[in-house]
Symmetry: C2
Subunit: 405 residues, 2 copies
């Protein structure tokens, strides 16, 4: 039903959703406050409660996001390629909706609207299962979407919210391989493992990001310090934050002390290998912000103001470290040597490889895709930021003049 709607109708429904949320702000915040209160009583940790809470400003951002999605070009029906075969068939590849997308997520109630908006814009129906603690908020937000759908004569089944958080029910949902085309789990490792274990249809993981920056022998050290420092400190809890810097021994003597200075200012702790620690020996204040790394600090997503650091003897050694610890998310090189950059990019196989830029750019907004439903670290269907295109598939349309062979 959703796939058959024309793009203008889909856009109008989404504009109506934004208006509906604006009109209902007071009620939504009230219901959300009850979710937050219940979470406090249940003793949820502070980070979870913070993610759960909605604000007037947060809702305004959700609405702005929905309007932005509504205004984007309609991906459905886009002809991505066209050619003629030898026997005169005109072949086109045409974007078409995936069908029914299930999304399993935790806490943040704003995702309910974001995910619906992206799926619906791309012509898909969605089944959303949020966290138990956000149930009241999710129900209130889904109601706004249902009202907008109904107002435009669209089946409310375009958005199915599953309020229950029963694992058995989730397992049943994950078994519906005929009804659901794709499952996207977003959340902690336990959730992703559960989904992968039980899903009988395709799943796309938007998993952890252990992003590396390799500071090459030919790096501009000032640029490298800036890229590494902001890559961690600007948003330490995001999946595209820099978690580990690998610095070539040829520039480590200059780079490490300057990084430590920045780390001190930003409140970042550096967990360095022995050589990094040695290089910090004479640096003022290094005692407070540099610690010796253990093996467990490599390949780790700190989600905090902590950065791993290691000195390497060559790019080869850096690539070997990355191959061992990569999460397939994002890796960057800082270098003025175009050949080193080309080799790094060719040999790293993560969803995004950057040259002389921060790992934080690996998201849909920064790369110019518009909104995204997440950053895929699965090497199937979509890899990297997954925007509207990632919520469609290309089919073949062929025009002939009576050809039979």
């Amino acid at each position: 039903v959703v796939a058959a709607l024309d793009g203008a109708t889909r856009a109008r429904v989404l504009e109506d959703v934004a208006r509906g949320i604006e009109a209902g702000v007071a009620g939504i915040l009230e219901v959300n406050a009850r979710d937050v209160e219940a979470a406090r009583e249940a003793g949820l940790d502070a980070a979870k409660i913070a993610r759960l809470g909605l604000t007037e400003r947060g809702l305004a951002q959700v609405c702005a996001g929905v309007r932005q999605i509504a205004a984007m070009a309609d991906p459905v029906g886009e002809v991505t390629r066209e050619w003629l075969t030898q026997n005169g068939l005109k072949v086109r590849k045409v974007r078409t909706p995936l069908g029914v997308i299930a999304m399993i997520y935790e806490a943040r109630p704003g995702v309910t609207i974001d995910a619906f908006a992206l799926c619906f814009k791309a012509g898909n129906a969605c089944v959303l299962k949020g966290g138990r603690e956000a149930t009241r908020s999710n129900v209130a937000l889904a109601r706004v979407a249902h009202e907008a759908l109904t107002r435009h004569g669209v089946d409310a089944g375009a958005l199915t919210l599953i309020a229950s958080s029963d694992r058995e029910e989730l397992r049943t949902l994950l078994g519906l391989s005929e009804e659901i085309d794709l499952v996207i789990p977003r959340g902690g490792e336990a959730l992703i493992r559960f989904v992968r274990e039980h899903a009988r249809m395709a799943t796309i993981q938007h998993y952890r990001g252990v992003c590396h920056v390799y500071v090459d022998a030919a790096a501009d050290v000032g640029m490298a310090v800036e890229i590494v420092a902001t890559g961690k400190a600007s948003a330490p809890a995001t999946c595209n934050a820099t978690e580990c810097v690998l610095v070539h021994e040829g520039v480590a003597g200059e780079f490490v002390p300057r990084l430590v200075e920045r780390a001190k200012r930003d409140g970042v702790t550096i967990r360095g290998d022995a050589r990094v620690v040695d290089l910090c020996a004479g640096v003022d204040g290094a005692g407070e912000c540099v610690e010796e790394a253990t093996e467990a600090d490599f390949g780790r997503e700190f989600l905090d103001l902590v950065l791993a650091a290691r000195v390497v003897g060559s790019m080869e050694e850096a690539l070997a470290h990355i191959a061992r610890y990569t999460s397939d998310h994002t890796e960057a090189i800082v270098t003025a040597d175009a050949r080193a950059a080309a080799e790094f990019v060719a040999r790293v196989r993560s969803s995004c490889a950057l040259v002389n830029a921060s790992t934080r750019f690996n998201d849909g907004f920064s790369l110019g895709l518009g909104a995204e439903i997440g950053i895929s670290t699965s090497r199937v269907h979509a890899y990297g930021p997954m925007g509207l295109e990632g919520l469609t598939i290309e089919r073949y349309v062929v025009e002939g003049t009576g050809q039979t062979r």
Copy 2:
């Protein structure tokens, strides 16, 4: 390892595989004869034994296929799109191998070489599990591939053949979600169900094809008869064969008798609804080749010289029939009315929609993709003929000049 090889080396390995098969034809045929003999003794059905048997001519075709794949443009590293962001980042989408692809298939030993050639050309390693009855032949063919790999210094792990047909072992294989990126089952429904039930990674189905042709009120009846008749008779056991014709009542009176005449000549049995049977009443010889259809004949893949037929009152009715019985494979319309064609194409969501052409064209060779690993009816990753591009994924490569935000 395979992903890091340059395209020229990958092509040379494949040329060597073709040469190796040619040099070893006698030995391969001998070993294959033992597989066939064992299958006869085990009482396998004739169709399976026919698929199992290799001939000199069949092996020559396999070699020609491998050479064709070797000669195709290298998909790895292809830049599919390129743009500049507002802050000056140069973003490219670049094709990269999927990683490790497992293929589970039955009978036909030639698939062992086809699948390896396609996966390897696209920079992937593959794990192949053929049918038990073809074990000797598959081992002989894989040995040729291993020799070619070793000769070029490539790790023989680029092709892992699993000779065992133990279901427990297959289950273990399907659990290796960290090691295998994609599983492609090719075979009967039982195999596909087993794989879907146990796979902990993405699977792409290449499933049955229940292909429909709708003969519109504005059809050129001669063209329609030709498209429907050859769509069935030219290769009745293929997944893109026409299984059901839906004819508009406005042209049924002319179409049905002419189709019956052709069916008689081709040895095709028509299973028609009551109206089709009525229209055949006066047709010479209809008694032998027209039967009344039961409900089970719709939505059925006959894999035989049998064609279902139904008279519909409108295109709407045809679309409703297709929506109910589609296998998401292929649907065609025959019409001289461009608006009817456009509506049909827009409302059908199968992997291929054709106008005035045979359903048999939905394969990689006919559509100009070169070789294919199968025709996907999954609406994720690849939909329709899956060629080299379908065995890759696009990643992001970003070049900056020191951008941090």
